[in-house]
């Protein structure tokens, strides 16, 4: 009896603990082929207000492609919260789509996995050549000095969106061009339950986009030339402090924004609760939330000198979506054709118009429909004063580590704590150590 029981206990123990910690895996490293030339699977990122909207925009275009080539494209729109994990899983298992959208900031990290088809001269030739694309957009498609891992599909840049009525009521005649003006205007705007600036304090990627640009303005980069993390340089610390201080010291960001991660700051803007947001291509969201185009204005993101440009006058990251092909696709020719179709001048105009983004294809950019004031600002920013996020394999880890550090600092600021330079530096040092553990 005793032995049976001991055995039983052993068995139960093992089963329980195993059940509790199961994990998994798989592997596939096949190279591309043309075994199934009639179908493609396409993972699109969520670009419209919601997933059904994306399907509605993309389906007619995919039908057009099918008519032209006879290739049927199976579409899946993947929400942003799942996309990177889905791609990682597909990379590990080899069970993925043929063609997919990636956030352009992930390009270098995903390139390092070797799962994506490199776009060398030969492949670019198949879609009309490298020269068709805006250089800044191409820069954000992979690590420096390597063939891009993807092709730019939609481009975006950051701009300052402001509520015209709130500005008028506060007696402010034009949008701020420098940070000092922004803070001064902000203090006029932040009263009576209303606030000057919106932030997404708990959204890691958004934090990164903001502090990346601010660090540029302080003359700092987040990685050294040989790709090592460098998070605690004086410029980096000053940049993060400046961003968090909008809430902690200047008090022009509502403390509640510290927990925002689902674009609540855009809803606040649409409801007239905040007067400004720093955002990329926000027009369609404002419209879907019931704001008229005449209610808001758009201006370049401020820089200290007031004149955006390169280097310390950078005022946006190169934001956007790239299109990549999984190396082990079983319809390599079809996938290339599909990329060619999606980046053709005609499709670029249709798709970018629908999504409110800027075409990374030069010829398509010249279309009149991109001459609206908002898109003009975004286009100019992209062409003249935007820089790609660090083009290193560790970029994705950087977003998580430093994005979390900024989130934590916002949490402290919201709690009423003073954010000292030392506190910022300590938080960033912690983030840097996380990167080094590999």
């Amino acid at each position: 009896m005793s032995r049976t029981r001991t055995t039983a206990i052993g068995a139960v123990t093992v089963t329980l603990a195993l059940a509790a910690t199961a994990c998994g895996g798989g592997s596939a490293t096949g190279e591309g082929s043309n075994d199934s030339p009639k179908t493609l699977t396409y993972w699109a990122s969520n670009q419209g207000p919601d997933i059904p909207a994306d399907k509605k925009i993309l389906t007619p275009e995919l039908k057009k492609f099918e008519k032209q080539t006879g290739i049927k494209v199976k579409l899946e729109v993947v929400p942003w919260s799942d996309l990177l994990n889905r791609i990682l899983t597909a990379t590990t298992s080899g069970q993925g789509p043929d063609v997919l959208n990636i956030g352009n900031t992930w390009s270098s990290s995903l390139q390092a996995t070797g799962a994506l088809l490199p776009w060398d001269e030969k492949n670019f030739a198949k879609i009309g050549g490298k020269d068709r694309f805006v250089p800044a957009a191409l820069d954000s498609a992979g690590a420096e000095g390597e063939d891009p891992a993807a092709v730019p599909l939609y481009s975006m840049a950051y701009a300052l969106y402001y509520n015209k009525k709130m500005f008028r009521e506060a007696g402010i005649s034009e949008p701020p061009a420098t940070w000092d003006q922004l803070v001064a205007d902000g203090k006029k705007l932040s009263k009576g339950g209303k606030w000057a600036l919106g932030a997404e304090g708990a959204n890691l990627s958004n934090n990164i986009h903001q502090i990346f640009v601010l660090a540029k303005q302080h003359g700092a980069d987040w990685f050294t030339a040989d790709g090592k993390p460098d998070f605690t340089s004086p410029g980096a610390v000053a940049a993060v402090k400046q961003y968090v201080d909008f809430m902690a010291k200047d008090k022009i960001v509502a403390p509640g924004n510290a927990e925002y991660a689902q674009n609540q700051s855009l809803s606040d803007f649409s409801k007239g609760k905040t007067a400004m947001v720093l955002w990329q291509a926000a027009a369609s969201t404002f419209e879907s939330q019931g704001m008229k185009d005449s209610d808001w204005g758009v201006a370049p993101v401020p820089v200290a000198s007031g004149a955006p440009g390169h280097g310390k006058n950078t005022n946006s990251m190169v934001a956007g979506i790239n299109m990549a092909v999984f190396k082990n696709t079983d319809n390599l020719d079809g996938a290339t054709k599909f990329v060619k179709f999606m980046t053709s001048d005609a499709e670029q105009k249709i798709l970018c118009k629908a999504y409110g983004s800027i075409p990374p294809v030069k010829a398509a950019q010249q279309d009149q429909s991109f001459d609206k004031p908002e898109l003009k600002v975004l286009r100019d920013t992209l062409a003249k004063s935007a820089a790609p996020l660090p083009r290193v394999p560790d970029e994705s880890q950087f977003e998580t580590a430093v994005g979390t550090a900024v989130k934590n600092l916002f949490a402290s600021a919201a709690d009423g704590k003073d954010i000292s330079t030392a506190a910022v530096k300590a938080e960033l040092a912690k983030a840097e150590q996380q990167m080094n553990k590999q």
Binding site: L16, A20, K407
Partner: protein, 332 residues
């Protein structure tokens, strides 16, 4: 991670009900008894057990000895061997990674003890109160089970809305209406997030305790209560000397299951806090997720998983050993 937990009560529950009617077990004589039939019948189950659990776990253990970063995930069989490196990173408590793991482990321990304790206490109290027949008892029983029946995501996201700083119901009640707090509190970031997480966990977990204890209570003969009542026992005495000892076998299983569920809970913190949980609510499963998925270092993540597995094996083994000894002593 939670897919197979329904199997958990199996063996323990069998021991718990311990053949109450005392029916003698009859075995059919003949060749069948000695044959392999029982084993053959078990075979499919064993096969799927291997497939679903053991194989992935073995792969996980294998991965924990690899240097599995983004450079190798596509062909992870060929990732370089890391030896014990991943383990030494995880267990070096002087370095940041080890410190963070230890911190997360301690948070998880505190969280688990509080959550399991409160779930058990509330569940048992509710079950005992609902033992007496009264009008509306059925409705109440059904109502109490609602949190357990709701899909986790729906339930937790509702809590997230309630815990919001600006428009949340919790702040509205605590601050606007009752005036208990001076200013609206943050529940989803900062130190309060531990309390928020605990609240949701207990809210979600206690109905299970209630359900199991309620089932256990049905097995206690009513004449024991009547006899004790005649001897002048008060209700607290009855609970202490009749109810709780009779529930012992049920509680043993219940606490173990709650412990494993709570210790490993991933869904609740993930839905509440997203990829980066606040430090005060950084449960170990979240921490492992972050160490593998967010930083793309699957080797270290696997090593941490294996350590977690070993810890849970140890605790579960000791617990079962201890409780079964106790039971044997009580039987004797």
């Amino acid at each position: 991670m939670t897919t197979t937990l329904d199997r958990v009560p199996g063996p323990g529950a069998e021991a718990a009900s311990a053949n109450p009617a005392g029916r003698p077990r009859r075995r059919r004589p003949g060749r069948l008894r000695k044959s392999a039939l029982p084993y053959l019948l078990l075979l499919p189950a064993v096969f799927f057990e291997l497939l679903v659990h053991l194989v992935p776990i073995v792969i996980g253990i294998f991965m924990s000895f690899k240097k599995l970063t983004q450079f190798f995930i596509r062909d992870w069989g060929n990732a370089p061997w890391a030896g014990w490196d991943n383990y030494s990173i995880a267990l070096d408590f002087d370095a940041p990674a080890g410190q963070a793991l230890l911190h997360s482990f301690l948070i998880t321990c505190a969280f688990t003890v509080l959550s399991v304790g409160l779930c058990w206490l509330i569940g048992t109290a509710a079950a005992i109160y609902l033992q007496e027949a009264f009008r509306g008892r059925g409705v109440l029983r059904a109502l109490f089970l609602v949190p357990y029946a709701l899909p986790v995501y729906t339930a937790v996201i509702t809590w997230v809305f309630m815990f919001q700083h600006d428009n949340g119901l919790v702040n509205h009640v605590l601050h606007d209406q009752l005036g208990i707090t001076d200013a609206p509190s943050f529940w989803l970031i900062g130190d309060n997030s531990f309390v928020a997480l605990l609240t949701v966990s207990v809210w979600k977990g206690w109905p299970f305790a209630f359900l199991i204890v309620m089932a256990g209570l049905q097995n206690i003969p009513r004449d024991m209560y009547e006899a004790s009542w005649l001897d002048g026992a008060t209700m607290p005495q009855q609970i202490r000397h009749i109810t709780l000892p009779s529930l012992r076998p049920v509680n043993q299983v219940l606490v173990l299951v709650l412990f494993l569920w709570t210790f490993n809970d991933f869904n609740t913190p993930f839905v509440m806090f997203g990829k980066a949980a606040p430090e005060s609510a950084n449960l170990i499963s979240m921490h492992i997720y972050q160490s593998s998925f967010a930083t793309w270092n699957f080797g270290t993540g696997s090593a941490m998983s294996v350590l977690l597995l070993l810890f849970l094996l140890l605790v579960t083994g000791l617990y079962l050993l201890y409780t079964s000894r106790g039971r044997r002593a009580a039987d004797a």
